[in-house]
Amino acid sequence: MVGIVKVDTLQNNAGTSSVDMGYVVNGSAKAWVDFNGTGTVSIDDSLNISSADDDGTGDYGFNFTSSFASTAYCPQATGRGDGTGEGSWCTSTRVPATSSCDIFYFSNSGADQDQTALSWSALGDLA
């Protein structure tokens, strides 16, 4: 049998630390992905990501299993490298939709660039 507890605040038994459930729910990442963006792109691990799109060099999209309530969510991204040891870090998160988010990676010179590994996450309200 599945159990449900309805609660507003969690507090440790010592009473020295507590957190409002609003922080638990709002402070949790609603989607994240560890992703290989070279060759045939692949998801190494993820939460709430149904699939990833390869839309071109350095150009990717992530599709969510459960959609966000609006496009006003907070995405974060890091390019973990292009595998050559050179800087390949510049990222932009763009075209946010409730059901997906496109991101774009480019080198410090501004050239489109695939990533051997990248990290992406989003905070916000799910629908």
Partner: protein
């Protein structure tokens, strides 16, 4: 009336590692543990290496100019985790080029983007999302 639970540990009933929470909009559910950051750190790797604030970080390594390592108190279940990050607070720094990524630690670099040089930086941040062991 607000409600409060006094508790030191939360665990799922059916599976200890799976607690479901309902979305803000009420139409979706998600696994609580999966969405929680498993480690985070704000650090400076300049003349003095400083961990300004952190969670689940046991130590910080200075591996040379701009090269750093962070070590986890509790390891991740594998090296496949997400590590969104941001560079120092000024002068267009970034965090990138994660070199050795292990379940117990990871290496990275702080770089100055306008020069493409590895450089020490003030107050960079990394968040770790994924599964703990």
């Amino acid at each position: 009336m607000s409600s409060k639970i006094l508790v030191d540990e939360l665990a799922g009933k059916t599976a200890a590692g799976n607690i479901t929470v309902t979305s803000e909009g009420g139409s979706a559910t998600m696994q609580l543990q999966q969405g929680l950051a498993k480690a985070w750190i704000k650090f400076t790797n300049k003349t003095s290496n400083i961990i300004h604030v952190s969670f689940n970080i046991s130590s910080f390594d200075d591996d040379g100019t701009g090269d750093f390592g962070i070590n986890f108190t509790n390891s991740m279940s594998s090296a496949e985790y997400s590590a969104p990050s941001s560079g120092g607070e000024d002068n267009r720094y970034t965090v990138t080029n994660f070199g050795t990524v292990l379940s117990s630690a990871m290496d990275g670099q702080t770089r100055q983007t306008t020069t493409n040089n590895v450089a020490d930086a003030d107050r960079s941040s990394i968040e770790i999302l994924g599964d703990l062991a």
